[in-house]
Protein backbone atom coordinates (compact mmCIF):
# COMPACT_ATOMS: atom_id res chain seq x y z
CA UNK A 1 0.00 0.00 0.00
CA UNK A 2 1.35 3.35 -0.97
CA UNK A 3 0.98 5.57 1.99
CA UNK A 4 1.35 9.28 1.64
CA UNK A 5 2.63 11.43 4.50
CA UNK A 6 0.10 13.46 6.42
CA UNK A 7 0.97 16.90 4.93
CA UNK A 8 0.23 15.71 1.39
CA UNK A 9 -2.98 14.03 2.41
CA UNK A 10 -4.13 17.08 4.30
CA UNK A 11 -3.03 19.21 1.34
CA UNK A 12 -5.02 17.15 -1.15
CA UNK A 13 -8.08 17.21 1.08
CA UNK A 14 -7.78 21.00 1.54
CA UNK A 15 -7.35 21.63 -2.19
CA UNK A 16 -10.30 19.38 -3.00
CA UNK A 17 -12.48 21.00 -0.33
CA UNK A 18 -11.48 24.49 -1.50
CA UNK A 19 -12.16 23.60 -5.15
CA UNK A 20 -15.58 22.18 -4.31
CA UNK A 21 -16.48 25.21 -2.17
CA UNK A 22 -15.21 27.69 -4.79
CA UNK A 23 -17.13 25.95 -7.56
CA UNK A 24 -20.28 25.81 -5.47
CA UNK A 25 -19.98 29.51 -4.66
CA UNK A 26 -18.71 31.05 -7.90
CA UNK A 27 -18.88 28.38 -10.59
CA UNK A 28 -20.78 29.16 -13.77
CA UNK A 29 -22.75 26.55 -15.67
CA UNK A 30 -19.82 25.49 -17.86
CA UNK A 31 -17.33 25.02 -15.05
CA UNK A 32 -19.90 23.24 -12.88
CA UNK A 33 -20.65 20.82 -15.71
CA UNK A 34 -16.97 20.20 -16.29
CA UNK A 35 -16.35 19.64 -12.58
CA UNK A 36 -19.33 17.25 -12.42
CA UNK A 37 -17.81 15.34 -15.31
CA UNK A 38 -14.50 15.05 -13.46
CA UNK A 39 -16.33 13.75 -10.36
CA UNK A 40 -18.28 11.21 -12.45
CA UNK A 41 -15.28 9.96 -14.43
CA UNK A 42 -13.29 9.98 -11.19
CA UNK A 43 -15.92 7.70 -9.69
CA UNK A 44 -15.65 5.33 -12.66
CA UNK A 45 -11.85 5.45 -12.41
CA UNK A 46 -12.08 4.53 -8.71
CA UNK A 47 -14.13 1.51 -9.82
CA UNK A 48 -11.37 0.52 -12.25
CA UNK A 49 -8.71 1.03 -9.57
CA UNK A 50 -10.46 -1.42 -7.24
CA UNK A 51 -9.89 -4.10 -9.88
CA UNK A 52 -6.57 -2.86 -11.27
CA UNK A 53 -4.80 -1.59 -8.18
CA UNK A 54 -6.11 -3.99 -5.54
CA UNK A 55 -7.05 -7.18 -7.38
CA UNK A 56 -4.27 -6.72 -9.95
CA UNK A 57 -6.54 -7.43 -12.91
CA UNK A 58 -6.67 -5.36 -16.09
CA UNK A 59 -10.30 -5.01 -17.15
CA UNK A 60 -11.10 -3.62 -20.58
CA UNK A 61 -14.79 -4.10 -19.93
CA UNK A 62 -15.79 -1.44 -17.46
CA UNK A 63 -17.61 0.55 -20.14
CA UNK A 64 -20.21 -2.23 -20.02
CA UNK A 65 -21.11 -1.47 -16.39
CA UNK A 66 -20.95 2.29 -16.91
CA UNK A 67 -23.17 1.86 -19.98
CA UNK A 68 -25.68 -0.43 -18.27
CA UNK A 69 -26.09 2.14 -15.49
CA UNK A 70 -26.61 4.91 -18.04
CA UNK A 71 -28.90 2.93 -20.35
CA UNK A 72 -31.18 1.66 -17.58
CA UNK A 73 -31.49 5.21 -16.23
CA UNK A 74 -32.27 6.49 -19.73
CA UNK A 75 -34.69 3.72 -20.65
CA UNK A 76 -36.63 4.22 -17.43
CA UNK A 77 -36.73 7.99 -18.05
CA UNK A 78 -38.19 7.31 -21.53
CA UNK A 79 -41.12 5.46 -19.97
CA UNK A 80 -41.57 8.19 -17.37
CA UNK A 81 -39.71 6.87 -14.35
CA UNK A 82 -37.40 9.55 -13.04
CA UNK A 83 -37.45 9.16 -9.26
CA UNK A 84 -33.79 8.57 -8.46
CA UNK A 85 -34.51 6.81 -5.18
CA UNK A 86 -36.09 4.05 -7.29
CA UNK A 87 -34.38 4.37 -10.68
CA UNK A 88 -30.82 4.66 -9.40
CA UNK A 89 -30.81 1.49 -7.27
CA UNK A 90 -32.42 -0.38 -10.19
CA UNK A 91 -29.77 0.88 -12.62
CA UNK A 92 -26.89 0.22 -10.22
CA UNK A 93 -28.41 -3.21 -9.51
CA UNK A 94 -28.43 -4.02 -13.22
CA UNK A 95 -24.77 -3.01 -13.55
CA UNK A 96 -23.93 -5.06 -10.45
CA UNK A 97 -25.64 -8.11 -11.90
CA UNK A 98 -23.79 -7.65 -15.20
CA UNK A 99 -20.49 -7.44 -13.30
CA UNK A 100 -21.35 -10.53 -11.25
CA UNK A 101 -22.08 -12.62 -14.34
CA UNK A 102 -19.18 -11.32 -16.45
CA UNK A 103 -16.82 -11.55 -13.49
CA UNK A 104 -17.88 -15.10 -12.66
CA UNK A 105 -16.88 -16.17 -16.17
CA UNK A 106 -13.90 -13.88 -16.81
CA UNK A 107 -12.25 -14.62 -13.46
CA UNK A 108 -11.78 -18.23 -14.50
CA UNK A 109 -8.91 -16.79 -16.51
CA UNK A 110 -6.07 -14.40 -15.71
CA UNK A 111 -3.67 -12.10 -17.50
CA UNK A 112 -4.23 -11.37 -21.16
CA UNK A 113 -7.16 -13.80 -21.38
CA UNK A 114 -8.94 -11.85 -18.68
CA UNK A 115 -8.40 -8.62 -20.65
CA UNK A 116 -9.78 -10.20 -23.84
CA UNK A 117 -12.82 -11.75 -22.16
CA UNK A 118 -13.83 -8.55 -20.38
CA UNK A 119 -13.37 -6.68 -23.66
CA UNK A 120 -15.44 -9.27 -25.54
CA UNK A 121 -18.33 -9.01 -23.07
CA UNK A 122 -18.26 -5.21 -23.18
CA UNK A 123 -18.36 -5.33 -27.00
CA UNK A 124 -21.43 -7.59 -26.78
CA UNK A 125 -23.19 -4.86 -24.80
CA UNK A 126 -21.97 -2.25 -27.29
CA UNK A 127 -23.35 -4.08 -30.32
CA UNK A 128 -26.45 -5.06 -28.40
CA UNK A 129 -27.23 -1.38 -27.76
CA UNK A 130 -26.49 -0.61 -31.42
CA UNK A 131 -29.13 -3.14 -32.38
CA UNK A 132 -31.90 -1.65 -30.20
CA UNK A 133 -33.94 0.71 -32.37
CA UNK A 134 -36.22 1.47 -29.43
CA UNK A 135 -33.26 3.12 -27.75
CA UNK A 136 -32.02 4.93 -30.83
CA UNK A 137 -29.64 2.22 -32.02
CA UNK A 138 -26.23 3.61 -32.94
CA UNK A 139 -27.53 7.20 -32.75
CA UNK A 140 -28.52 6.90 -29.13
CA UNK A 141 -31.27 8.97 -27.57
CA UNK A 142 -31.99 12.03 -25.48
CA UNK A 143 -33.35 11.67 -21.98
CA UNK A 144 -36.60 13.61 -21.65
CA UNK A 145 -36.04 14.37 -17.95
CA UNK A 146 -33.33 14.39 -15.34
CA UNK A 147 -33.81 12.15 -12.30
CA UNK A 148 -35.28 13.69 -9.19
CA UNK A 149 -34.24 12.77 -5.65
CA UNK A 150 -37.27 12.42 -3.39
CA UNK A 151 -39.11 14.74 -5.78
CA UNK A 152 -36.33 17.33 -5.69
CA UNK A 153 -35.14 18.24 -9.21
CA UNK A 154 -31.44 18.08 -10.10
CA UNK A 155 -31.61 20.60 -12.92
CA UNK A 156 -29.58 23.19 -11.04
CA UNK A 157 -25.97 22.45 -12.09
CA UNK A 158 -24.77 23.60 -8.67
CA UNK A 159 -26.90 21.07 -6.81
CA UNK A 160 -26.01 18.35 -9.30
CA UNK A 161 -22.30 19.03 -8.89
CA UNK A 162 -22.52 18.98 -5.11
CA UNK A 163 -24.37 15.67 -5.27
CA UNK A 164 -21.72 14.15 -7.56
CA UNK A 165 -18.92 15.41 -5.30
CA UNK A 166 -20.66 14.09 -2.21
CA UNK A 167 -21.21 10.64 -3.77
CA UNK A 168 -17.63 10.46 -5.00
CA UNK A 169 -16.26 11.29 -1.56
CA UNK A 170 -18.61 8.81 0.12
CA UNK A 171 -17.55 6.00 -2.24
CA UNK A 172 -13.88 6.92 -1.81
CA UNK A 173 -14.12 6.78 1.97
CA UNK A 174 -15.99 3.47 1.99
CA UNK A 175 -13.60 1.90 -0.52
CA UNK A 176 -10.60 3.12 1.49
CA UNK A 177 -12.08 1.68 4.63
CA UNK A 178 -12.54 -1.70 2.92
CA UNK A 179 -9.00 -1.54 1.52
CA UNK A 180 -7.55 -1.46 5.05
CA UNK A 181 -9.92 -4.16 6.31
CA UNK A 182 -9.46 -7.90 5.88
CA UNK A 183 -11.05 -7.71 2.42
CA UNK A 184 -8.51 -5.27 0.98
CA UNK A 185 -5.68 -7.06 2.71
CA UNK A 186 -6.43 -10.52 1.43
CA UNK A 187 -7.29 -9.12 -2.01
CA UNK A 188 -3.83 -7.58 -2.27
CA UNK A 189 -2.27 -10.79 -1.00
CA UNK A 190 -3.99 -12.69 -3.82
CA UNK A 191 -2.67 -10.07 -6.26
CA UNK A 192 0.87 -10.39 -4.92
CA UNK A 193 0.98 -14.18 -5.08
CA UNK A 194 -2.17 -16.17 -5.76
CA UNK A 195 -0.51 -19.55 -5.20
CA UNK A 196 0.77 -18.45 -1.80
CA UNK A 197 -2.57 -16.96 -0.73
CA UNK A 198 -4.45 -20.13 -1.74
CA UNK A 199 -1.92 -22.20 0.19
CA UNK A 200 -2.82 -20.04 3.21
CA UNK A 201 -6.52 -20.78 2.85
CA UNK A 202 -7.58 -17.64 0.95
CA UNK A 203 -10.48 -18.03 -1.49
CA UNK A 204 -8.89 -16.11 -4.39
CA UNK A 205 -11.77 -16.60 -6.80
CA UNK A 206 -14.58 -15.43 -4.51
CA UNK A 207 -12.49 -12.57 -3.25
CA UNK A 208 -11.82 -11.32 -6.78
CA UNK A 209 -15.41 -11.85 -7.81
CA UNK A 210 -16.58 -9.74 -4.87
CA UNK A 211 -14.12 -6.98 -5.82
CA UNK A 212 -15.11 -7.13 -9.49
CA UNK A 213 -18.81 -6.98 -8.64
CA UNK A 214 -18.38 -4.04 -6.27
CA UNK A 215 -16.30 -2.33 -8.93
CA UNK A 216 -19.05 -2.91 -11.50
CA UNK A 217 -21.59 -1.40 -9.12
CA UNK A 218 -19.47 1.74 -8.69
CA UNK A 219 -18.95 2.05 -12.46
CA UNK A 220 -22.69 1.60 -12.95
CA UNK A 221 -23.36 4.38 -10.47
CA UNK A 222 -21.01 6.64 -12.45
CA UNK A 223 -23.01 5.74 -15.56
CA UNK A 224 -26.25 6.74 -13.83
CA UNK A 225 -24.80 10.14 -12.96
CA UNK A 226 -23.33 10.54 -16.44
CA UNK A 227 -26.74 9.99 -18.06
CA UNK A 228 -28.15 12.69 -15.81
CA UNK A 229 -25.33 15.09 -16.62
CA UNK A 230 -25.38 14.82 -20.42
CA UNK A 231 -29.04 13.80 -20.90
CA UNK A 232 -27.85 12.00 -23.99
CA UNK A 233 -26.82 8.37 -24.31
CA UNK A 234 -25.30 6.54 -27.26
CA UNK A 235 -23.33 3.30 -27.51
CA UNK A 236 -20.27 5.24 -28.69
CA UNK A 237 -20.31 7.51 -25.63
CA UNK A 238 -21.10 5.15 -22.75
CA UNK A 239 -20.45 1.59 -24.00
CA UNK A 240 -17.44 1.95 -26.28
CA UNK A 241 -14.20 0.21 -25.38
CA UNK A 242 -12.47 3.59 -25.67
CA UNK A 243 -14.16 4.50 -22.42
CA UNK A 244 -12.74 1.40 -20.71
CA UNK A 245 -9.28 2.28 -22.01
CA UNK A 246 -9.57 5.94 -20.95
CA UNK A 247 -10.51 4.86 -17.44
CA UNK A 248 -7.38 2.69 -17.30
CA UNK A 249 -5.31 5.66 -18.50
CA UNK A 250 -6.79 7.86 -15.75
CA UNK A 251 -5.94 5.30 -13.07
CA UNK A 252 -2.40 4.89 -14.37
CA UNK A 253 -1.93 8.67 -14.67
CA UNK A 254 -2.84 9.15 -11.01
CA UNK A 255 -1.49 5.96 -9.51
CA UNK A 256 -3.06 2.53 -9.34
CA UNK A 257 -3.76 1.14 -5.89
CA UNK A 258 -4.43 4.43 -4.10
CA UNK A 259 -8.11 5.04 -5.00
CA UNK A 260 -7.91 8.85 -4.81
CA UNK A 261 -5.06 8.71 -7.33
CA UNK A 262 -7.75 7.62 -9.78
CA UNK A 263 -9.67 10.84 -9.13
CA UNK A 264 -6.50 12.93 -9.55
CA UNK A 265 -5.81 11.04 -12.79
CA UNK A 266 -9.34 11.66 -14.05
CA UNK A 267 -9.02 15.38 -13.34
CA UNK A 268 -5.67 15.60 -15.12
CA UNK A 269 -6.85 13.54 -18.09
CA UNK A 270 -10.07 15.48 -18.66
CA UNK A 271 -8.34 18.83 -18.17
CA UNK A 272 -5.62 17.89 -20.65
CA UNK A 273 -8.20 16.81 -23.20
CA UNK A 274 -10.24 19.96 -22.62
CA UNK A 275 -7.27 22.28 -23.08
CA UNK A 276 -5.52 20.51 -25.92
CA UNK A 277 -8.67 19.94 -27.95
CA UNK A 278 -9.08 23.73 -28.14
CA UNK A 279 -5.94 23.90 -30.22
CA UNK A 280 -5.87 20.73 -32.24
CA UNK A 281 -8.01 17.81 -33.34
CA UNK A 282 -5.13 15.50 -32.60
CA UNK A 283 -5.55 15.86 -28.85
CA UNK A 284 -5.32 12.09 -28.33
CA UNK A 285 -1.73 12.15 -29.55
CA UNK A 286 -0.72 14.77 -26.97
CA UNK A 287 -2.56 13.00 -24.17
CA UNK A 288 -0.73 9.85 -25.25
CA UNK A 289 2.58 11.67 -25.00
CA UNK A 290 1.61 12.88 -21.52
CA UNK A 291 0.84 9.31 -20.42
CA UNK A 292 4.12 8.02 -21.82
CA UNK A 293 5.99 10.85 -20.12
CA UNK A 294 4.24 10.11 -16.85
CA UNK A 295 5.10 6.40 -17.01
CA UNK A 296 8.71 6.94 -18.07
CA UNK A 297 9.59 9.99 -15.99
CA UNK A 298 7.63 9.46 -12.79
CA UNK A 299 7.39 5.72 -12.59
CA UNK A 300 5.59 5.52 -9.28
CA UNK A 301 2.84 7.95 -10.14
CA UNK A 302 2.21 11.62 -9.58
CA UNK A 303 1.30 11.30 -5.93
CA UNK A 304 4.44 9.38 -5.02
CA UNK A 305 6.55 11.91 -6.93
CA UNK A 306 4.85 14.61 -4.91
CA UNK A 307 5.69 12.73 -1.72
CA UNK A 308 9.33 12.61 -2.72
CA UNK A 309 9.33 16.36 -3.35
CA UNK A 310 7.91 16.96 0.10
CA UNK A 311 9.99 14.49 2.08
CA UNK A 312 13.40 15.19 0.53
Amino acid sequence: MTKLPLPIRVGIICIAAAAIAALAAFGDQTSLRFASRIAIMGLAAVAVDVVLGYAGLVSLGHAAFFGVGAYVTGALALIGHTEGLIVWPVAVGAATLAALVIGALALRTTGVYFIMITLAFAQMFYYGANAMPGLGGADGFRLPFRSTIGGMPLDDPRIFFLLCAFLLIAVLLLARRASFAAFGYTLRAARDDAIRSAASGIENYWLRLAAFTISGAIAGFAGVLSANLTLYIAPSSVLSWHLSAELLVMVILGMAGTLYGAVVGAAIFLTLVEIISHYTDFWAMYVGIAVIARVLLIRDGLLVALRRLVTT
Partner: protein, 251 residues
Protein backbone atom coordinates in the same frame (compact mmCIF):
# COMPACT_ATOMS: atom_id res chain seq x y z
CA UNK B 1 -1.72 -47.95 17.03
CA UNK B 2 -3.20 -44.61 16.06
CA UNK B 3 -4.31 -43.94 12.52
CA UNK B 4 -1.80 -41.99 10.44
CA UNK B 5 -2.47 -38.25 9.88
CA UNK B 6 -1.93 -38.48 6.15
CA UNK B 7 -2.11 -41.46 3.86
CA UNK B 8 -1.62 -41.68 0.13
CA UNK B 9 -2.77 -44.83 -1.63
CA UNK B 10 -1.72 -45.71 -5.16
CA UNK B 11 -1.17 -42.08 -6.13
CA UNK B 12 -0.25 -41.69 -9.80
CA UNK B 13 0.43 -38.47 -11.68
CA UNK B 14 1.19 -38.11 -15.35
CA UNK B 15 2.75 -34.89 -16.62
CA UNK B 16 3.02 -34.94 -20.38
CA UNK B 17 3.88 -38.51 -21.25
CA UNK B 18 5.87 -39.02 -18.10
CA UNK B 19 4.68 -40.93 -15.06
CA UNK B 20 6.04 -38.60 -12.33
CA UNK B 21 4.25 -40.32 -9.47
CA UNK B 22 3.98 -44.05 -9.86
CA UNK B 23 1.74 -45.82 -7.37
CA UNK B 24 2.88 -43.92 -4.28
CA UNK B 25 1.52 -45.13 -0.95
CA UNK B 26 2.89 -43.50 2.17
CA UNK B 27 1.68 -42.90 5.72
CA UNK B 28 2.62 -39.87 7.77
CA UNK B 29 2.05 -40.08 11.52
CA UNK B 30 1.05 -37.07 13.59
CA UNK B 31 4.13 -35.20 14.77
CA UNK B 32 6.63 -37.12 12.66
CA UNK B 33 9.26 -35.49 10.47
CA UNK B 34 9.45 -37.26 7.15
CA UNK B 35 12.18 -36.46 4.69
CA UNK B 36 11.66 -37.25 1.04
CA UNK B 37 14.85 -37.59 -0.92
CA UNK B 38 15.73 -38.70 -4.41
CA UNK B 39 17.59 -37.55 -7.52
CA UNK B 40 16.37 -34.59 -9.57
CA UNK B 41 13.24 -35.46 -11.49
CA UNK B 42 12.29 -38.23 -9.08
CA UNK B 43 8.90 -36.60 -8.49
CA UNK B 44 9.46 -35.23 -4.99
CA UNK B 45 7.95 -31.81 -5.55
CA UNK B 46 5.18 -33.36 -7.61
CA UNK B 47 4.25 -35.55 -4.67
CA UNK B 48 4.32 -32.55 -2.32
CA UNK B 49 2.11 -30.60 -4.74
CA UNK B 50 -0.43 -33.42 -4.75
CA UNK B 51 -0.55 -33.45 -0.97
CA UNK B 52 -0.84 -29.65 -0.89
CA UNK B 53 -3.43 -29.61 -3.66
CA UNK B 54 -1.49 -27.61 -6.25
CA UNK B 55 -1.74 -30.73 -8.43
CA UNK B 56 -4.47 -33.38 -8.52
CA UNK B 57 -3.47 -37.04 -8.94
CA UNK B 58 -4.64 -38.98 -12.01
CA UNK B 59 -5.29 -42.00 -9.82
CA UNK B 60 -5.16 -42.97 -6.17
CA UNK B 61 -6.46 -41.33 -3.02
CA UNK B 62 -5.05 -38.96 -0.43
CA UNK B 63 -6.58 -38.98 3.03
CA UNK B 64 -5.90 -36.36 5.71
CA UNK B 65 -7.12 -37.04 9.23
CA UNK B 66 -9.84 -39.36 7.98
CA UNK B 67 -11.06 -36.99 5.23
CA UNK B 68 -10.59 -37.86 1.56
CA UNK B 69 -8.89 -34.74 0.19
CA UNK B 70 -7.87 -36.14 -3.20
CA UNK B 71 -9.84 -33.54 -5.16
CA UNK B 72 -10.21 -30.84 -2.50
CA UNK B 73 -9.06 -27.35 -3.59
CA UNK B 74 -5.83 -25.96 -2.13
CA UNK B 75 -7.48 -23.36 0.10
CA UNK B 76 -9.81 -25.93 1.68
CA UNK B 77 -6.86 -28.20 2.45
CA UNK B 78 -5.05 -25.23 3.96
CA UNK B 79 -7.95 -24.60 6.31
CA UNK B 80 -8.06 -28.31 7.22
CA UNK B 81 -4.51 -27.85 8.48
CA UNK B 82 -2.10 -28.48 5.63
CA UNK B 83 0.42 -25.65 5.43
CA UNK B 84 3.35 -25.42 3.10
CA UNK B 85 6.31 -23.55 1.70
CA UNK B 86 7.64 -23.59 -1.84
CA UNK B 87 11.00 -24.33 -3.40
CA UNK B 88 11.39 -20.68 -4.38
CA UNK B 89 9.91 -18.81 -1.39
CA UNK B 90 6.49 -17.40 -2.16
CA UNK B 91 5.75 -14.26 -0.21
CA UNK B 92 3.63 -11.14 -0.52
CA UNK B 93 6.26 -8.69 -1.78
CA UNK B 94 4.27 -5.47 -1.30
CA UNK B 95 3.56 -6.26 2.35
CA UNK B 96 5.58 -5.66 5.47
CA UNK B 97 7.12 -8.86 6.85
CA UNK B 98 4.60 -9.12 9.69
CA UNK B 99 1.66 -8.83 7.29
CA UNK B 100 2.64 -12.10 5.62
CA UNK B 101 1.77 -14.30 8.63
CA UNK B 102 -1.26 -12.05 9.19
CA UNK B 103 -2.60 -13.34 5.87
CA UNK B 104 -1.98 -16.87 7.14
CA UNK B 105 -4.11 -16.11 10.21
CA UNK B 106 -6.91 -14.50 8.14
CA UNK B 107 -6.90 -17.47 5.77
CA UNK B 108 -7.15 -19.99 8.59
CA UNK B 109 -10.03 -18.08 10.16
CA UNK B 110 -11.69 -17.81 6.77
CA UNK B 111 -11.94 -14.11 7.51
CA UNK B 112 -11.51 -12.41 4.14
CA UNK B 113 -14.69 -10.52 3.43
CA UNK B 114 -14.64 -8.10 6.37
CA UNK B 115 -14.90 -4.64 4.80
CA UNK B 116 -15.19 -2.41 7.83
CA UNK B 117 -12.76 -3.15 10.66
CA UNK B 118 -9.15 -2.12 10.10
CA UNK B 119 -6.87 -5.18 10.19
CA UNK B 120 -4.81 -3.58 12.95
CA UNK B 121 -7.92 -3.58 15.12
CA UNK B 122 -8.82 -7.21 14.49
CA UNK B 123 -8.32 -8.52 18.01
CA UNK B 124 -5.26 -10.70 18.36
CA UNK B 125 -4.41 -10.81 14.66
CA UNK B 126 -1.28 -8.73 15.17
CA UNK B 127 -0.25 -10.74 18.22
CA UNK B 128 -0.60 -14.01 16.32
CA UNK B 129 1.32 -12.68 13.33
CA UNK B 130 4.09 -11.46 15.64
CA UNK B 131 4.16 -14.82 17.41
CA UNK B 132 4.64 -16.57 14.06
CA UNK B 133 7.56 -14.26 13.22
CA UNK B 134 9.00 -14.85 16.67
CA UNK B 135 8.77 -18.61 16.14
CA UNK B 136 11.12 -18.34 13.16
CA UNK B 137 13.29 -15.75 14.92
CA UNK B 138 12.96 -12.63 12.79
CA UNK B 139 10.92 -10.41 15.07
CA UNK B 140 13.46 -7.63 14.50
CA UNK B 141 12.55 -7.44 10.80
CA UNK B 142 8.83 -7.18 11.54
CA UNK B 143 8.28 -3.90 9.65
CA UNK B 144 10.75 -4.56 6.84
CA UNK B 145 9.41 -4.49 3.31
CA UNK B 146 9.16 -8.17 2.34
CA UNK B 147 10.40 -7.44 -1.18
CA UNK B 148 13.69 -6.12 0.21
CA UNK B 149 14.43 -9.10 2.48
CA UNK B 150 17.27 -11.51 1.72
CA UNK B 151 16.49 -14.92 0.27
CA UNK B 152 17.02 -16.56 3.65
CA UNK B 153 14.73 -14.12 5.43
CA UNK B 154 12.07 -14.53 2.76
CA UNK B 155 12.15 -18.24 3.42
CA UNK B 156 11.71 -17.61 7.15
CA UNK B 157 8.81 -15.23 6.45
CA UNK B 158 7.20 -17.91 4.31
CA UNK B 159 7.58 -20.50 7.06
CA UNK B 160 6.05 -17.99 9.51
CA UNK B 161 3.14 -17.51 7.09
CA UNK B 162 2.61 -21.27 6.94
CA UNK B 163 2.89 -21.56 10.75
CA UNK B 164 0.34 -18.78 11.22
CA UNK B 165 -2.18 -21.14 9.62
CA UNK B 166 -1.60 -23.46 12.60
CA UNK B 167 -1.00 -26.47 10.36
CA UNK B 168 -1.17 -30.04 11.59
CA UNK B 169 0.87 -31.02 8.56
CA UNK B 170 3.62 -28.79 7.23
CA UNK B 171 5.03 -29.39 3.75
CA UNK B 172 8.49 -27.94 3.18
CA UNK B 173 9.88 -27.98 -0.34
CA UNK B 174 13.67 -27.77 -0.02
CA UNK B 175 13.86 -25.42 2.97
CA UNK B 176 17.68 -25.35 2.74
CA UNK B 177 17.91 -24.56 -0.98
CA UNK B 178 19.90 -21.43 -1.75
CA UNK B 179 20.88 -20.80 1.87
CA UNK B 180 24.42 -19.99 2.92
CA UNK B 181 26.23 -22.14 5.47
CA UNK B 182 25.18 -20.06 8.50
CA UNK B 183 21.62 -19.75 7.25
CA UNK B 184 21.45 -23.53 6.75
CA UNK B 185 22.56 -24.15 10.31
CA UNK B 186 19.98 -21.65 11.51
CA UNK B 187 17.29 -23.36 9.43
CA UNK B 188 18.31 -26.78 10.83
CA UNK B 189 18.01 -25.41 14.34
CA UNK B 190 14.62 -23.90 13.51
CA UNK B 191 13.32 -27.17 12.05
CA UNK B 192 14.48 -28.93 15.21
CA UNK B 193 12.34 -26.59 17.30
CA UNK B 194 9.35 -27.19 15.01
CA UNK B 195 9.79 -30.95 15.25
CA UNK B 196 7.20 -32.69 17.37
CA UNK B 197 4.55 -30.03 16.74
CA UNK B 198 2.99 -30.32 13.33
CA UNK B 199 3.94 -33.33 11.26
CA UNK B 200 6.47 -32.23 8.65
CA UNK B 201 7.04 -33.63 5.19
CA UNK B 202 10.26 -32.18 3.89
CA UNK B 203 11.77 -32.54 0.45
CA UNK B 204 15.47 -31.86 0.80
CA UNK B 205 18.81 -32.38 -0.91
CA UNK B 206 20.97 -31.42 2.07
CA UNK B 207 21.83 -34.87 3.41
CA UNK B 208 23.33 -33.58 6.66
CA UNK B 209 20.00 -31.94 7.45
CA UNK B 210 17.98 -34.94 6.30
CA UNK B 211 19.84 -37.49 8.37
CA UNK B 212 20.05 -35.33 11.46
CA UNK B 213 16.41 -34.22 11.45
CA UNK B 214 14.24 -36.92 9.93
CA UNK B 215 12.39 -39.59 11.86
CA UNK B 216 11.76 -41.47 8.64
CA UNK B 217 13.26 -41.10 5.19
CA UNK B 218 11.45 -42.00 1.99
CA UNK B 219 13.46 -42.35 -1.19
CA UNK B 220 11.91 -41.66 -4.57
CA UNK B 221 13.35 -42.51 -7.97
CA UNK B 222 11.54 -42.25 -11.29
CA UNK B 223 8.28 -41.56 -9.47
CA UNK B 224 8.43 -44.71 -7.34
CA UNK B 225 9.12 -45.21 -3.66
CA UNK B 226 12.26 -47.34 -3.69
CA UNK B 227 12.88 -47.33 0.04
CA UNK B 228 11.41 -46.00 3.23
CA UNK B 229 12.63 -46.34 6.78
CA UNK B 230 14.84 -45.08 9.59
CA UNK B 231 17.66 -42.76 8.51
CA UNK B 232 20.28 -45.35 9.48
CA UNK B 233 18.66 -48.10 7.47
CA UNK B 234 18.29 -45.83 4.45
CA UNK B 235 21.90 -44.74 4.65
CA UNK B 236 22.99 -48.37 4.43
CA UNK B 237 20.44 -49.57 1.88
CA UNK B 238 22.42 -50.82 -1.13
CA UNK B 239 19.71 -49.93 -3.66
CA UNK B 240 19.48 -46.37 -2.34
CA UNK B 241 23.23 -45.98 -2.44
CA UNK B 242 23.26 -47.19 -6.02
CA UNK B 243 20.46 -44.98 -7.32
CA UNK B 244 20.96 -41.84 -5.34
CA UNK B 245 23.58 -41.47 -2.71
CA UNK B 246 26.27 -42.31 -5.21
CA UNK B 247 29.09 -44.82 -5.18
CA UNK B 248 31.44 -42.84 -2.96
CA UNK B 249 31.38 -44.32 0.48
CA UNK B 250 31.05 -41.20 2.60
CA UNK B 251 27.77 -40.07 1.05
Amino acid sequence: MTAPLLTTRGVCKRLGGLLVSDDISIDIKAGELRAIIGPNGAGKSTLLNQIGGQLTPNAGTITFDGTDITSLPVQDRARLGIGRTFQVPKIFPSFAAVDNPAIGVLGRRHHTFGMWTHVRKLGDLGAQANAALAAVGITDKRYAHTELLSHGDRRLVEIATALAGKPRLLLLDEPMAGLGRDESLRMSALLKTLKGGAAIVMVEHDMDAVFSLADTVTVLAHGKVIASGQPEAIRNDPQVRLSYLGADDDA
